[in-house]
């Protein structure tokens, strides 16, 4: 069996509003509702709605021979419910066909896996519950961590939660001479399978598709099928992982990306011996060739494929440490608003905006950031966090008073 496994990441963060020093202690609403709504609506028109309807057509047309997987972050689910119920409905329709698989991740697209197992498990559980609630009792079997961040340790934490497989990047520095087109297993818990992204072929679609200076421009389905036919026979699985916004948002409709996807299944099924599978199908059908050792966390971001997009400079480390210092105190507080903000403040994007790698992947960071500079991002985040700390302190004090009153 040779097969292509498509997985699309759908995520939108709750972006912070411009929050000034003078607001600390007074204004406890941190989110830029107007901007967030606008982004969701814009991307819905350009990507989610047209692409969902295209995928639905293809699934009907090939009667289940074409299939894909999604991971929908919790912050995306919340915003979709609030600003784009039409998009939610179209995702529900896709899942109802039985040929679309959903994956689990941390509810708020957080970096908790690097800091706290307890928080990590809590956020995964919350995502499970929410998927169950919105998609008719659906229970995912495969896990993908925020930004495909993965290490042996993180794999072990995922396995503990009962998942069959986990997705991550086929990072060059981890694979060495090995190919990403096999199924591997976690180095600590061998029963957990590890699916690796083939970043060359994935990025041909996600990043290079409309690049006119690329030697292989324009990318056609014939060309793509020729390439996959050139993959050595014994390599079984081709994992094409990408942001869902690739379709219509990063690559505009005018580039022909929708036409490419409309005709890709036909070209693959007719002119190659590849089929399409979802991650859980791959995990149960294909045996692992060996363990893969990932002692230091990897991700799918930037040239380095490491954590430096979110952590590493002083601003990011300071913000990250100050945030997670609050974990214990927040756990004890039973207040839905504090719990919600605590989750949303963990979203990895806030730390991504503070990245100062101006020279390597700076332009990509800039594209996604609502701020002019990483310094602005840091100031704004810290102002919000300072207010949040005050709230946590206040609540904790109130609770202590109550406890003493009961005594």
């Amino acid at each position: 069996m040779r097969t292509i496994c498509f997985y699309f990441q759908v995520h939108q963060p709750f972006r912070l509003k411009p929050y000034r020093f003078f607001d600390i202690g007074e204004d406890h609403h941190y989110w830029d509702d107007f901007l967030n709504r606008n982004v969701i609506r814009k991307v819905a028109q350009k990507c989610y709605l047209p692409m969902n309807s295209l995928l639905l057509d293809l699934i009907h047309q090939y009667k289940g021979k074409f299939k894909v997987a999604f991971s929908l972050s919790g912050t995306f689910l919340d915003q979709m419910e609030a600003y784009a119920p039409d998009v939610l409905e179209s995702f529900q329709k896709l899942v109802a066909t039985g040929h679309v698989e959903l994956l689990n991740e941390t509810y708020t697209h957080s970096l908790a896996s690097l800091k706290s197992k307890e928080e990590f498990h809590g956020l995964v559980k919350k995502h499970q519950d929410r998927i169950k609630e919105l998609f008719n009792g659906y229970t995912p079997k495969v896990f993908r961590n925020t930004e495909l961040i993965y290490s042996d340790q993180i794999g072990a934490m995922v396995s503990e939660l009962g998942y069959e497989a986990v997705l991550t990047e086929g990072a060059k520095h981890v694979l060495g001479w090995k190919s990403p087109n096999y199924v591997y297993s976690n180095a600590i818990e061998p029963k957990l399978k590890v699916l690796l992204k083939n970043f060359l072929l994935s990025d041909d679609i996600a990043f290079r598709f409309s690049n006119k200076t690329w030697a292989d421009y324009p990318l056609t389905t014939e060309k793509f099928v020729k390439w996959i036919n050139a993959i050595p026979k014994e390599e079984q699985v081709l994992n094409l992982f990408m942001d869902y916004e690739t379709f219509g948002e990063h690559q505009w409709a005018e580039t022909g990306i929708f036409e490419f996807m409309r005709h890709l299944p036909e070209a693959v099924l007719k002119h190659s011996n590849f089929s399409f599978s979802t991650p859980s199908e791959v995990a149960s059908a294909v045996p692992a060739v060996s363990k893969i050792h990932v002692p230091i966390p990897i991700s799918w971001a930037d040239e380095e494929r490491d954590l430096t997009a979110w952590l590493g400079n002083d601003m990011q480390d300071e913000a990250f440490d100050r945030l997670y210092e609050l974990e214990k105190a927040v756990k004890k507080i039973d207040d839905p608003e504090i719990k919600r903000d605590w989750g949303y403040l963990q979203t990895s994007d806030h730390f991504y905006y503070m990245c100062t790698k101006f020279f390597s992947d700076g332009s990509v960071h800039e594209y996604f950031s609502p701020y002019d500079t990483p310094y602005d991002a840091f100031i704004n985040y810290m102002n919000v966090l300072s207010d949040f700390i005050l709230r946590v302190k206040q609540k904790t004090a109130e609770m202590q008073d109550q406890a003493e009153a009961i005594k």
Partner: protein, 429 residues
């Protein structure tokens, strides 16, 4: 007495402290019944009628006048090399990049037209405007011959003062509010320095805003000390400001408010903050303003892991400035070199105790403030801690500060200025 005064800006259209100081001075001279002809590159029409205002943009130059030849030549020369960029603060820099009114390439038209529309800002054609301004000054000096003395404020107006003196033969007083050394440290912009020096040497007498500035003039510009009189600035309004604005956080607030540039010494404030926070975490530090060192300060604060205790507000406008003073428990001005520095007086008006560096002119007049060397972060931290914790000293500063302000009046400054004028005229005859 009638004074022909050359400035660069006048309230309400100002971008720095120079306009405010000119305003105070003219008001003070008015109080003593002195007449002032005040020339600015551009008048907006809504200036308070304190003087006989002349809009340089309206003055027609008589290009047949042979005596102007020298100034024309200067202009032709500058037109060719007008890429010179003087020191600019962040706010001026924005204007500098936005501004393109005089982006002309047509040399003929801009040089030989007999009227010139000044921007009156700190744009990239600043040098051309400065020489144009001198030409206008020559014309004014020729047309109005009813003044007794010429007074030029800062280097932008020095060429104008020199030209007016040469045409009219009247004595010239130049007023130094800041020098190139204050603005740029040791890496001075040579053409600006040259103009400053030429102005000081052409002048019959020099006024400096502080002893500190006077020392720089003597040391760096080769001016004899006897030629310089120190006239400290004053405040327009000495009343105490009672703000309704309330602090929203429980902690005490220590504030730095100003441009975040080399001259203002922001890094010493950051290091002192760290020392205080290590001792007492229940304090918030605020750095208000923007400038070319802002990002470096943010990095340092993150590196010192105190970003939940040390906040940045960016550039503050309007009411926010008052609010910031109002909620501050201590105001710190750690300037490396400050000719005068009016901000601490604003803080005193808000009843906020102040810490100022010994390297600021204001330290010469403000007695009820803690003075430290800008580089002595231990002393600075010590002073901050004391003002936050020992009620007695901050209460004393609050009480005495307002008394002190009452002494800093522009009338007093103007009275001294009149004696400077009289002495200069007497020396002439």
């Amino acid at each position: 007495m009638k004074v022909l005064m050359f400035g660069w800006e006048f309230p309400p259209h100002i971008s720095g402290g120079l306009g405010t100081a000119c305003y105070g001075l003219v008001k003070g001279l008015n109080h003593h019944n002195q007449e002032v002809i005040f020339v600015v590159p551009k008048l907006w029409g809504d200036e308070e009628p304190l003087a006989d205002f002349v809009n340089a943009s309206d003055v027609r130059i008589d290009y047949r006048e042979k005596r102007f030849k020298k100034f024309w030549k200067n202009l032709t020369y500058l037109e060719v090399s007008s890429f010179l960029v003087p020191y600019l603060g962040p706010e001026e820099f924005k204007k500098f990049t936005d501004y393109a009114v005089h982006d002309r390439t047509d040399v003929d038209e801009s040089i030989f037209s007999n009227k010139f529309e000044f921007s009156g800002k700190y744009g990239k054609n600043l040098m051309e405007e400065v020489s144009r301004y001198a030409l206008v000054a020559a014309q004014i000096a020729r047309d109005k011959n009813n003044f007794d003395i010429i007074h030029a404020h800062d280097w932008l107006a020095f060429p104008a003062g020199i030209a007016a003196k040469e045409i009219s033969g009247k004595p010239l007083v130049v007023h130094v509010h800041a020098t190139e050394y204050d603005r740029s440290g040791e890496s001075v912009n040579q053409p600006v320095y040259d103009i400053e020096r030429a102005g000081m040497h052409a002048a019959d007498h020099i006024v400096a805003v502080s002893q500190l500035t006077k020392n720089i003039l003597v040391r760096k510009y080769g001016v004899p000390a006897s030629k310089v009189t120190v006239l400290h600035n004053a405040v327009l309004d000495a009343s105490i400001i009672k703000s309704e604005y309330e602090k929203k956080v429980p902690e005490k607030i220590v504030t730095f408010l100003g441009r975040i540039t080399f001259q203002k010494g922001p890094e010493y404030f950051v290091e002192a903050a760290k020392k205080v926070i290590d001792r007492d975490p229940n304090v918030r530090f605020v750095m208000a303003g923007s400038g070319d060192l802002l990002n470096r300060m943010i990095d340092r604060v993150a590196e010192l892991r105190m970003a939940t205790r040390f906040h940045f507000t960016g550039f503050l406008k309007g009411d926010d400035v008052d609010h910031m003073y109002a909620i501050s428990d201590v105001y710190v001005m750690p300037s490396v070199s400050e000719p005068f520095g009016i901000a601490p007086l604003e803080a005193v008006r808000h009843n906020t105790p102040v810490i100022i560096s010994k390297q600021s002119g204001v330290a010469e007049v403000l007695r009820n403030a803690i003075k430290v060397d800008f580089w002595d972060v231990d002393a600075m931290a010590d002073a901050i801690f004391a003002l936050l914790h020992y009620e007695g000293i901050s209460r004393m500063f609050k009480e005495l500060g307002s008394e002190e302000l009452k002494k800093l009046k522009w009338e007093h400054v103007a009275a001294k200025l009149v004696t400077v004028y009289e002495k200069t005229l007497a020396e002439r005859s």
